[in-house]
Symmetry: C2
Subunit: 228 residues, 2 copies
């Protein structure tokens, strides 16, 4: 995919965790991860996925939260959201990407990124079972804000009625990972003083910023203040 060893080799397919052609890697196969635990790890480490749908023959890619339970990933939306009208039983693609580093090579061509990414293909299934809906909403909330489901007011009937939940099976998914230094051409080595290497990219949490309506005596709980 776009985050490949060769910076210009931007969009090879991802790597297979399943036997279908669209989830079989066609570029940079050495970056394939075929262990299901790798898929779970990439998904579990994320906060935002990019969900692709097709509308009138054209793709639509929207960022959204998500949650995972076993081999199902869930997304949700307002029942008033336009996109939901096209999501029922529709083909979707859910992608989660973690950028881990900018890879500086001795040539522009070999610039790259270190990353972990997961791409899930499948059909969106609208969740109607109340128990599965509840578990999915808990998972989505906990993915975004671990600890919040049990520490805040949970959804009431009106809020549940306003919320649509979709499930996507992880059966057809792929994971791709790049790590390590740049891979330069022999001709560009040692590079005559040209530095090459990786600039790590890190995502971190800052200090909690209280809502102005929160009394000064109410401090953030541990699941917020000590979030790793």
């Amino acid at each position: 995919m776009a985050l490949s060893r060769c910076h210009f080799d931007a969009h090879p397919e991802l790597v297979s965790l399943s036997p279908t052609p669209r989830s079989t890697v066609t570029r940079s196969r050495e970056r394939a991860r075929t262990d299901r635990a790798d898929l779970h790890a990439v998904l579990d480490a994320g906060l935002v996925c990019h969900l692709g749908l097709v509308r009138d023959g054209a793709p639509v890619v929207l960022p959204t939260g998500y949650g995972r339970i076993d081999d199902t990933v869930y997304v949700h939306g307002s029942t008033g959201a336009g996109y939901l009208r096209i999501a029922d039983d529709a083909p979707v693609c859910l992608t989660v990407t973690h950028l881990d580093g900018v890879v500086y090579a001795r040539s522009a061509f070999h610039h790259s990124m270190n990353y972990r990414s997961a791409v899930v293909h499948g059909t969106a299934r609208r969740v109607t079972d109340p128990g599965e809906r509840w578990a999915a909403l808990a998972a989505i909330t906990e993915q975004l804000a671990p600890g919040s489901w049990d520490h805040t007011r949970q959804p009431d009937a009106r809020e549940l009625a306003a919320t649509a939940v979709f499930a996507l099976d992880l059966a057809e998914a792929s994971v791709k990972v790049r790590t390590g230094p740049p891979v330069d051409d022999e001709r560009d080595l040692p590079g005559d003083g040209c530095w090459a290497g990786v600039l790590p990219v890190r995502t971190t949490f800052g200090a909690p910023e209280p809502c102005p309506t929160v009394p000064a005596t109410t401090h953030p709980p541990a699941h917020v203040a000590q979030r790793p």
Copy 2:
């Protein structure tokens, strides 16, 4: 969209910078930004976009680098990449998302994210003009690694021949931004000791990690070591 004020209201459409229905916001309109400078700012601040294509009627969403010149955004890929065979003159959607904070509300329902996002709809145009290709590759390199284009070996004829470049016009695009504290229901205030607020999310660069082939006397240049 998925990163909306209401955590469960996950996927309203984005906001319009153009008059077409698909780039007109249908959810959380108050988050719309209609200034073209806002679009440029969101794009310019990113390292990775998520590019959506349609293959056999199903969406494919892949992460990739990109670059912008005026009102055109460019992506590139290996001419051997499978996805390129479906990108020529195809409808695409290019989305860039910055997650700025996790919004903790007093209810699970009102959990949300602070974010900036841009969604561009259009048709991928394969760039064949050598001058435009060169400028696009420079822009893509500089977006990922500012300073690298002039500090490393630039592409030779073989590398150029192996690289496909696509352009996407910014004519049909939307930007959406959420900032600030949670918006709780009146009934949940003051919250009886329940903390609410924002946990900022920051993306930062770590210390440069030299490639093992780089002599210890070669230090990272300022555009790497002092990258903001």
